[in-house]
Symmetry: D2
C-alpha cells in the first residue's frame, strides 16, 4: 500500500479517528454474549474474539513493538495465538483451530485492546504528525475495518448454524420494493488506465496504476435481484451442467448446492443478521459463489465484467451506498426513482464478482518486511470482487479497492452485476 495518511479528511483529528475505528469494533459486538465470541463455524470463519485480538496484535506488532522504546508486549504468548499468516514474524496457531480457544476470555481480550489503545494514543501524542507513524496507523485502521466486515460475516455464519436462529440486530424489512429494469450501459474501450491514483491510502495490490486495453462492452445498471435469481433456479440452473464451469459443477455436486447460502429449502425465507426473514424479491441476490455468478450470467446470455471494465465504469461515481454505518447489515433493493441509465448500487450492498483472477498488476511490488505478506501471496486461485457491501465500512472503500475470494466461497455478501460484449 502507499503508506500515506492523506486519506484522512482534512482537519480530522488523527487520534480521534483511531479511537473511533477501534471503538467501532467493540460496539459491533454489543448484542453478543460471551459465548458468541468463541465459535468458529468453519475454517474460513474466525471467532469474534479472535478478530478483536488479532487486530490489536497487528498494532502491537507493527506499530508499538518497533516504535515504543522498551515496549513490553501484553502477553508474549499472544503472538503465536493472534498472528494470522505472517511467517516473517513467526509460527502461528493453525487457523482451523481458532475455535478451540476459550482463553483468553472476552474480558481479557478487551483488556488487551485497552492496553494497546493506551499505548497507541500516547505514542501518537509523543510523535504527533510523524508521517511514517500515521501511515502505519492508517494501515492498521484499514486492516481493522477489513476485520470488522469479517467479524460481521463470520458471526452471521456462526448464528446460521444454530437452530435457535439468533438475531444479531433487529431491523425492518425492505418491504415490497420494485426495482428498476436492468439496462446496459456501454463502457469506455481502448487503452485505459486502472489502479490507485493520487496520494491517499491504498493497499499495495492496487498499484501501480497502469495501462490496460478494454474491448467494447456494456455493464448492467444494477445487480441481479433475488427474483431474477429465482428464475434461474426454477429453470433448472442447478441441474444443468452445461451452464457451469467444470470446477463449479463439481462443487455443486459435491456440496449438493441448489440455492444461495442462507436461503431456506423452500426458497421463501433467508437467514440474515436481522434474523430469519421472508425472501424479498427486489433485494440484490447475495451469498452466491463465483461459480453461481458465472453460471447465472451464462444462463442469461451475459457474462461477468472484468475488474478493469468495472473500475473504469465506477470511476466517476461517488463512494456512497448502503454500508456498515447504515446499520442495516443487509442489502437493499435498488431505488426506483434513480433509474434511467445511471448505474445503481455501484458501491455498497453487495460485493460484485468480476471475471478477473486476482493477479499482480504489471510492476507490482509488495511492501518490504512482514507487511509484504499482507496481499501478494494470495495472488493465485482467487477472483476479484469490487465495490464493497452492506457490512463494509464506507471509509474503507475506494474505486480501486480489490477484494478477493476463492470461487467456491460465498459467506461474504457477494452478488452479481452482469456485463456483455458490445
Amino acid at each position: 500500500m502507499s503508506l500515506s495518511s492523506e486519506a484522512l479528511s482534512v482537519g480530522e483529528d488523527f487520534s480521534d479517528r483511531l479511537r473511533m475505528v477501534r471503538d467501532t469494533s467493540v460496539e459491533l459486538c454489543n448484542t453478543l454474549h460471551e459465548e458468541d465470541f468463541v465459535v468458529q463455524s468453519m475454517p474460513d470463519v474466525s471467532p469474534t474474539k479472535w478478530h478483536l485480538a488479532h487486530t490489536t496484535w497487528f498494532f502491537e506488532t507493527f506499530v508499538l513493538a518497533p516504535r515504543v522504546p522498551g515496549y513490553c508486549v501484553f502477553d508474549e504468548r499472544y503472538e503465536y495465538l493472534f498472528n494470522s499468516y505472517y511467517y516473517t514474524v513467526g509460527q502461528m496457531h493453525p487457523r482451523p483451530r481458532r475455535g478451540l480457544l476459550s482463553r483468553p476470555t472476552v474480558a481479557e481480550t478487551m483488556a488487551y485492546r485497552s492496553h494497546v489503545d493506551a499505548y497507541l494514543q500516547r505514542l501518537m501524542e509523543d510523535e504527533q504528525g510523524d508521517p511514517e507513524l500515521e501511515a502505519l496507523i492508517t494501515l492498521g485502521l484499514h486492516h481493522e475495518q477489513q476485520h470488522q466486515e469479517l467479524l460481521l460475516t463470520d458471526i452471521k455464519h456462526v448464528f446460521a448454524q444454530n437452530p435457535l436462529c439468533p438475531v444479531f440486530r433487529e431491523a425492518g424489512t425492505s418491504g415490497d420494493a420494485r426495482p428498476p429494469p436492468m439496462e446496459f450501459i456501454e463502457g469506455a474501450s481502448g487503452l485505459v488506465e486502472i489502479g490507485h491514483r493520487g496520494d491517499g491510502f491504498c493497499f499495495d495490490n492496487e498499484c501501480p496504476r497502469h495501462h490496460t486495453y478494454l474491448h467494447p462492452h456494456a455493464l448492467a445498471t444494477r445487480p441481479v435481484t433475488n427474483e431474477e435469481y429465482l428464475e434461474f433456479i426454477r429453470d433448472g440452473g442447478y441441474r444443468t451442467p452445461e451452464l457451469w464451469l467444470s470446477d463449479g459443477w463439481a462443487t455443486v455436486q459435491r456440496e449438493h448446492w441448489d440455492r444461495p447460502l442462507y436461503w431456506s429449502e423452500g426458497l421463501d425465507s433467508v437467514f440474515t443478521l436481522n434474523g430469519q426473514r421472508a425472501l424479498e424479491a427486489a433485494e440484490p441476490v447475495s451469498h452466491v459463489s463465483y461459480y453461481e455468478a458465472d453460471a447465472f450470467t451464462r444462463w442469461a446470455g451475459m457474462r461477468l465484467p472484468t475488474e478493469a471494465e468495472w473500475e473504469v465504469a465506477a470511476e466517476s461515481h461517488r463512494v456512497s451506498g448502503n454500508f456498515m454505518e447504515d446499520g442495516r447489515f443487509h442489502p437493499m433493493p435498488a431505488p426506483v426513482r434513480e433509474s434511467g441509465g445511471r448505474p445503481l448500487q455501484v458501491f455498497g450492498d453487495v460485493w460484485e464478482w468480476t471475471a478477473s483472477p486476482y493477479v499482480p498488476y504489471p510492476g507490482f511490488r509488495p511492501l518490504a518486511g512482514a507487511i509484504g505478506e499482507y496481499n501478494g501471496k494470495f495472488m493465485c486461485n482467487q477472483l476479484v470482487l469490487r465495490g464493497g457491501s452492506c457490512v463494509t465500512a464506507s471509509s474503507q472503500v475506494r474505486v480501486s479497492y480489490r477484494n478477493f475470494f476463492y470461487p467456491d466461497q460465498r459467506w461474504q455478501f457477494m452478488g452479481i452485476r452482469p456485463a456483455r460484449d458490445a
Copy 2:
C-alpha cells in the same frame, strides 16, 4: 438397569440426594468462564454447556414429560439440541456440531436447570415414595454422574488444546512417592458368577448375573506406573510393530503416537486438570488407549485381564479410592504401606482396560422404550474398562459396573492392570 432406588443409603432423603447430585454438576464448573462452556475440541468431546443441558433434558424427557400432567417443556427446540442419541425420541443435532452452538447461553442453560429442578422437587413431594418415580430419578442421577465425569475429561481435553494451558483446579503434586513392587495374585478359576447381584441400582448391561468359566490366571497388585511405561517407550515400544495389534499399529502410524495423551514431547511433563506439571514416575500411567495397554503388556510378557477375571478378583473389595469427591482430579501413586499381596487401587485413580470386548451378557435384555437405547446399541467395537477413576463419582461405581470405549480412545483416565496365565 434394574430400576430400583435401593442403592440409596437407608434413611437418606431422596430429594436431598437429587439436589446434591444436580448441584455438583454446577459446582464442578465454578472455575470456568462463560467462554469455556462452549468449546468442542473433537467429536468425542461435548461442550460443558451441552452436558449441563443434556442431563436436564434427560430428566425433562423421561421423568417430567410422562409424569407431570400438562407439563410444558422449557423450550421445545431443546429436544433437538440436547437429545444425545435416542432415535426413539426423535432426530437430533449432529454430535460433531455441538461446539457450533453459542446459544443457549450459560445463563439460559442454568435457567433451564432451575426450571427442571423445581418441577422435579415438586413432583417428588407430590409422589413421595413412589418406587417407579424414584427408580427413574435414580437412573437420571446415575446418568448425570456419568456426565460429570465426561464434563471433566472433556474440559481437560479442551484446555489441553490451548497453548495458554489453563488450570482447571489448583492442587499439590504427589511428590516423590515410591510405589510398592508389582506382584501377582492368583485368581479364582473354574465356574464362577459375574454380573450385578442384589437389589441395588445397576445398568441393564450388568445383567443378568450368570455363570462363566475362568482359566487359571493371576492379576497384578497395582496398575502400571509412569516409570514402567517410560521403560516401554525407551525400549522402542512405539517403533516395534510386532508388539502391536494390527489395527493398533495402523493407529500409531496414522496418528504419529509416541507417548500417552497429554505427555510432553520431552516425556518430562504432563497436562493435567491442575495445569501443566512435572511427570511423576510413581503415578499410574493414564490416558493410554487399549492398543497401548495391549502393546505394553505384550512387551512385558503379560496380558490384560478379562472383565470376568477382574470382577471376581474385585468382588471382595470395598469401593473406595481416589474419586471425584477427593477433588484431585488426577491419579495418585499406590500407597507404599499397603503393599504385601493385597491388590491396590482396584477402584478409583484410573479405569482399567480389560481384554473383553463389550458384548451383551447371556440373556441380556435392554429396557423397554427409548431408555433401551442407553447401552445395548453400543455393544460392538468397544472394550470394557473397570473400576472407576479419579473423576468418577464414588457413588456411581460398583464392582459389576461396565464402562466401555473404542480401542483408540484415550481421553478418559485409562490405565493398565496386567494379568497373566497362571
Copy 3:
C-alpha cells in the same frame, strides 16, 4: 497352528497334494484375461496377480529360503512387493497400492510360480517324510487355499465395478426351489469344550481346546433366505435406527446402504460370479455385513449365535456342502427333502456371522517367529464367522475353523443363521 501333516488323507501322496493345490490356483484363473489380473477395486481387494505371487512368496520365504542351502530368491525385489503383513520379515508395499503395479506381468508371475514349485518338489523328494517340512508345506497349502477364496471374492468385486458385467463362470440357476421352513433346534448347554482337537492341522487361533459355559439356546435349521431378507427390507429395516447397533446405523447412513452388496437397486437381480442374474428367493442371503446380520435378527426377534454355540452344534456334522470344488461359486437353496429337524447347510454356501468378537482363546500362544503374525495380531475389532462358503476349498474347512472380518465388510459370501435363547 499345530504344524502337523496328519490332516492329509492316509496314503495320499504329499507332493501330489502340493501340486494339486498349487495348480488349482492357476486353474481358477483360466477364464481371465491378463487385464483382469491387475485391478484392485478397493483396499480390501487384492489383484489376482498379487494372490498368485504372494502365496508363492510365502513358500519361498518360509520353506525354501530357510531349508534349501544356498537358495537364491527368484527376484529379491519381490519380498517388498509380495509380503502381505509380516513386519518381522521386513517392510512391504502398502496394501492400498497393490493395484498400481502392472509388473511383474502375469507371465512373469507364472514363471515365479514354476520356479518355486520346482524347488518345492525337489525339496520334498530330498527330505521325503520330514515331518517339519511337511508341516510347513501343509501350512503353506492352507494359506494358499485361503487366498483361492479371496481371489474369487476379489475378482467378483472387481467385475462388479464394471458396467460391462463380465461373467467369471457360466452356470445354471437354482431354479424355483422352495426351502424348508426355518425351525430351531436346542443346543447343548452348561460346561462344554471348544477348539481344535486331534492331531490334524489347524491354525493357532483354534487352540487351545478349552472349557466354556453355554446358556440354554437354540439354532436355526438353515440360513436366512433372500426372500426372508426382502421382508426385512420391505418392512423398512434400513430406515429404522432402533434395529441397528450404533456403529451399524452410522455405516448405513454414511454408505447409503439399503440392500445387500451386489443386489440391484430394484431388488430383483444380483451380480454373481456367473454374471448378472435374477434374484432367487430361495437362496441364502449373502454379502451382508455383521451390522445387517445383527439388525435382521433383532427385527426378527432373534439373535446371532456365539461361536461356541455354533461349534458345539456343528461338531457332529460331516464337513460337506456346496464348496469351491462344486464349481458353482454361488450359494444354493437349502434342499427340501432333507428338512425335518436336522440343521442344513452348516458347511459351505455362506459363512455364518457369529455374535463373537474375534479374541484369543484362553491360553492362546501365537507361533514363534514371523509366522506368529499370521493370526494373533488381528484379534481386535473383528467378528468370527463359521462354516465356509461356496468359494471355500472343502479340505480347508474344519468345525473349529475361525474366519474373521470387520463388522462393515461384506464382500465375502457372508450370511445369517439365527439363534435364540431357549
Copy 4:
C-alpha cells in the same frame, strides 16, 4: 476452434494423415504389456487403454454417428465408459474409477479402433474434399495427439509407482552437456496482438486474436536447469514460506514436497521414460508445479512471464525442437553453440508455466454443441503453459497454443522460463 483443414501441408493426402496419427497412438504402446494398459495411478491419470478407446469414441461420436447414415455403434455401452466430460452427450463413468475396468481388454479396444478407422476411411473416400468433414477430422486428430501426450505422461506416472522401475523406452543420456548462461532479452511492449491468426487449425480458446497491452519486460534465453533448481533446493527453497504463494506453501506442507516429482530423495537420480537415471545438471528442470516455478523465480529475483509476453516473443520462432517424434521422451540440455542472445528451446523439451490464469480471450465464443465443452468450461483455477514438450507431437504445436493445468499439478513435462520487468 476454427474448424479448417488448412493446417495440413499442401498436397498431403488427408486420409494418410488420419492413418498416420491413429497408428502413432498404437505404436507408442509397442513396448507395453497388456497389464500396463489397465492401471490408473491417480485420478489425473487415465489408463493407456482408456486413451486408445476414448479418442476412438470421439471420432465415433462426433464424426461417424452424425455423418454415416445408419451407423451402428461398436458397443453402445462404450458411450458411458469412454465419454470423458461431455455432459451434452450424456452421463459418464466417473473419472477416478477408470482404473477399475479390466474390460474391454486391450484386444477388444484394438478391435474398436479398427472398426472405427475402417468407417472413417470409407467416409473420407465417400465425401472426399468435404471441408466440414475434414475440419471435424482435423479436430479429432488434434484431440488424438493431445491424448498421445497424456498417454506418455500417464504411463510415466504409472511406471514411477512401481518399485521395479519399468523402462518405457531405452535411450542414451544427454551426457555432460554444459548449457549456455541464462541471459535476458527485452520483449516488445505497448499495444500488441495475440491469439491465433491465419486460416490454419486452432482450438477455440486461441481466438479471437485481440489487442493487449504489454509493459516493459525481458525473457530468459533458456529454461531453468536442474543445476539451477538444485541451488534453490540447497538454499532452503522448500523450507522458506516467504518464497511461496499461500496456497503453494500449504501444498508443500500437506504433500511434504521437497523436490520435483520423479527426483530421488538423494537428489541424484530421476525416474524417466527411459528408466531410472542419474540426474543431469544441464537438462531443463521438469515436473515442477506452478507453485514451485513461482517460488523459484521469486527466490531468483525474477518472475514468470505472462502468456502474452511469451507469445509475442515466440512469434518469430519456427516451431522446432525436441518433440515426441524425436523419440527421446525426455528434455535435452540447451545447445551450447546456439547461444548468444537468441532464445533457445522455445518449443519442445518442457512446457513453460506462465503467470497467466487460463481465462477466455475478450470476445471468446465456444463452439456450438457438445464440442463447446472442449475448452471453455475449464477456464477457471488453471494457469496457461506454452511451447510444447518432449512428448508433444510437433504438428500439434502452434505459437498461439494454450495448454492449461492446475497450479499443483506436475506430472506433465513442466518447466520454467523466467522473465523480469525491464
